[in-house]
């Protein structure tokens, strides 16, 4: 061992640990934040979708520019979902939430704001997790949903939009456009999916390059379904699969017009006051089992959903529409009379168009506790259906009247398989005879599958907008559709600063002005959202800046009043000052 060689200890001291240790302080002590934050927001970000994570984080950083301490965390959606479902409007520190972001829509083509934002929709049973509670909004929603007069409804909706724009209960970030890449040889794909009323309609698809009588097509959606019983879910993952199997009384003719047309109902007529409805059913429609479709099936479906034992997600809107089972009666096998206790827009907007009719002869024997585990929910095995004339039918999943008959879960392809219904009541134009719904996770993966010819189209949830430039013409044709949805940041309106305003300086000084102070803070936050930059940089321009919870392409959207909200931190700070906050 030579003496001039440094010892290990010396070596480490001089260069190794010594040098590396110099880095520690710079990491542990970050630059000091603003002297004293005005208040604190816990911003919980769903960790499942990068684009949204990025823009929500960006919004958080901009809010921090206003002197607010923003505590950001990435969390699984399940955590926010359980936090927001509390019954008291608890803030984050109390076990609830302060702020998060999500994509949302009305689940119907007719705007139904009261389903999301009325006091009646507070959790645990409703979806107004944000606790929007404003007298003018409430009155407008009530007038809109209970008035049979279209003129009155339009005015009420306008009042709703204006009031929302003025007080900004939640912040609409942008209205995304749906971008879908399809097989260039696929014709007849003319609609995006919008659950539960728009799902793939492969009966009208034609694969132009296909030869022979058997033509197969596949559609990708992100997650596996949780249940395939329509009354238990209106989610994309589910309705993409059960949608093609069932029918509703009314359906939408096309995405372009978004007009409701008769489906299982042949005609629907209303009395002048909108209380008494006569539904004439289509005759000659057959269930997949061969049984005739009649009024009994409609009554059975409504009865089942209204029965609390079945715990259907559609129970609440049906209860508020019908009140009870007394509201409807079978007049003849092909006619039903509905007498509403009071006019409700939900009847037209949801009951007629969004509720899939279930077969009484096949499902009536299934008890409430068995429904979710049954083959009709999983499609993983088979069950025997006996028709009224004594024949038997082996179902490999659900039984519907729709254009596609379930053929079970294909374990090899990890896909739900359907075959075309030869006895479908309506004429269809496509050449596809076999249809698969596969689960593929990730935008890159779905485009690879399209390139490899494994799928022909996909759900819009993949948000492939930013990847459009990577799609080549020979394997992918890019289509865009107005999405009818919006991306919003959700606030807890029970929060003492931006919700009730009681903890703002103005609110403390004059409690009668607390709500006004909260409005200033929310307006300030709204001006701190760089909507244009988010659209340009993060969604490749496929969207429009958000203002109020109304699809920007809906005819009800008041373009004259709802101008884009500018990104302006100085303006935001001046609004904060109105709420009593001081800036150096």
């Amino acid at each position: 061992m030579s003496n001039n060689q440094p010892t290990r200890r010396e070596f480490l001291q001089r260069v190794g640990i010594g040098a590396a240790a110099m880095t520690v302080p710079t990491v542990i002590w970050s630059p000091a934040h603003a002297a004293e934050p005005h208040f604190k927001i816990y911003l919980t970000i769903f960790n499942n979708q990068q684009t949204r994570m990025i823009w929500t984080d960006l919004i958080g950083k901009n809010i921090a520019e206003l002197g607010v301490e923003v505590v950001t965390s990435y969390v699984p959606p399940s955590e926010v979902i359980s936090r927001r479902a509390n019954e008291t409007g608890a803030t984050y520190t109390e076990g609830g939430f302060d702020m998060y972001s999500e994509r949302i829509y009305y689940s119907t083509m007719m705007p139904l704001p009261d389903v999301l934002f009325s006091k009646a929709a507070f959790p645990p049973f409703g979806k107004n997790f944000y606790r929007v509670e404003d007298d003018i909004l409430e009155q407008a929603m009530e007038t809109y949903s209970s008035s049979p007069d279209p003129q009155k409804r339009a005015e009420a909706l306008k009042t709703f939009e204006h009031r929302w724009y003025d007080i900004q209960p939640l912040h609409m970030v942008f209205y995304p456009e749906d971008v879908i890449a399809i097989n260039p040889d696929l014709e007849g794909f003319d609609a995006t999916t919008y659950n539960p009323v728009f799902f793939p309609r492969p009966e009208n698809w034609t694969i132009t390059s296909a030869t022979g009588p058997d033509v197969s097509a596949a559609f990708a959606c992100w997650q596996p379904p949780t249940t395939l019983v329509p009354m238990y879910s209106s989610g994309y993952n589910e309705s993409n699969i059960f949608g093609p199997v069932y029918n509703s009384l009314m359906e939408y003719d096309s995405w372009e017009t978004k007009k409701a047309v008769p489906a299982l109902a042949e005609s629907v007529t209303a009395s002048e006051d909108g209380l008494v409805w006569t539904i004439k059913l289509r005759e000659g429609v057959k269930w997949h089992s061969g049984e005739e479709f009649t009024a009994d099936d409609v009554i059975y479906t409504w009865d089942t959903i209204l029965d609390p034992a079945y715990a259907s997600v559609q129970n609440s809107p049906l209860v508020s529409t019908f009140g009870s089972k007394e509201a409807y009666e079978k007049v003849s096998p092909y006619e039903i009379k509905v007498t509403l206790p009071k006019y409700s827009i939900l009847f037209e907007g949801l009951v007629l168009t969004s509720i899939s009719i279930m077969p009484k002869h096949a499902y009536a024997s299934i008890g409430p506790e068995e429904f979710r585990k049954h083959t009709i929910s999983t499609w993983t095995s088979g069950f025997t259906v006996t028709t009224s004339d004594g024949r038997t039918y082996e179902a490999k999943g659900a039984v519907g009247t729709g254009p596609w008959i379930p053929a079970g879960f294909d374990a090899m392809r990890k896909a739900y398989r359907m075959v075309k219904n030869p006895d479908y009541w309506k004429e269809t134009t496509g050449n596809v005879t076999e249809f698969f719904v596969v689960n593929i996770q990730g935008a890159d993966a779905v485009l690879s599958a399209l390139k490899a010819g494994e799928i022909d189209a996909h759900d819009p949830m993949y948000d492939i907008g930013t990847l459009v430039s990577t799609i080549e013409e020979d394997w992918g044709k890019v289509l865009t559709f107005d999405s009818y949805k919006w991306q919003q940041t959700c606030l807890n309106l029970k929060h003492p600063v931006f919700g009730t305003g009681v903890d703002t300086p103005l609110g403390k000084q004059d409690p009668s002005r607390a709500a006004e102070a909260a409005v200033y803070v929310r307006q300030a936050i709204s001006h701190a959202i760089p909507r244009e930059q988010i659209i340009k940089n993060l969604i490749a321009g496929y969207g429009k800046p958000g203002t109020v919870p109304m699809p920007v392409t809906a005819e009800e959207y008041d373009h004259d009043y709802l101008k884009p909200i500018p990104y302006d931190l100085d303006l935001a700070k001046s609004l904060m000052e109105k709420a009593g906050y001081k800036y150096a």
Binding site: M1, Q5, Q50, M53, T466, T470, Q533
Partner: protein, 308 residues
Amino acid sequence: MTSMNDSIDPVARPARFGLFGRCLRTSMTGRVGFGLVMFVVIVAIFGPLLTPYAPKDQSAMYAVGANARPSADHWLGTDRLGYDILTQLLYGARTALVVGLGAVLISGCAGILIGGIAGYRGGWTDEVLMRFAEFFLVVPIFIIILAVVRVLSKAVTGTAFETMPYFNLTVIILMIGLFGWAPIARMTRGEFLRIKTLEFVQAARCGGQSGRQIVLSEILPNAFPSIVVLIALEIGGAILAEAMISFLGFGDPNAVSWGQMLYFNYQSLKIWPMASLAPGFMIFITVLGFNLLADGLSDAANPRARRR
């Protein structure tokens, strides 16, 4: 070289010092590894002086935009979040080193302590401690880390911990450290078992030295060469572990981490590959650096084994 052969004569006291020096002199892999590690260290210390941007500066979002190509203002362009890629790489080196060194400081101390006690005491103590170590070897560390990060970040709401900068990152470091000691403990125990029977230790014992003196001045320094190899390997492992946790979306939103850069940018790999490839490259050379260094140290510690 002959002098080194002499220095590990089993009867004589084994060489204690100069492991790094020997590693650098004799092993090419060691030299390359050391060079890579020093590069990362220098980047971590001086890198931030090279960039005008703060680590979380998204101002590009309002100017050149996200996924911008290289320009005079942004030498490597910007990523999907509007961050300057070069700035992220430079600051990410600090996070990587702090994670690597911090985690290994914990696992090293715990491993040497537990392994040392087990190896020196033997008997039941050895049995109990090694079974305990085996438990830590078989638990699925990632799932536990993810769960703990999640639970702790909720549990600290409203407490003083919340104001602690980089709390999540600290938890990740602690967890990687707490679950990484078992291999070091096993190695230390093995070395202690071997060395405590060597003649110079017996000589020290005959000379009247206490158990503590023997462990600290005789056994531990001689066990160190093998342990250092493992420690160098574990630093690389810890950096990779943090990158993986961040890549799963469980990282610290406030820290600049190469794993998180990958997580946010991998989906736009085809749009702007630099944003994913650059952090990937940095993780690669850092982990490679520590692994090669460990390899070189291993060669230097066991020159005979190498030559055979």
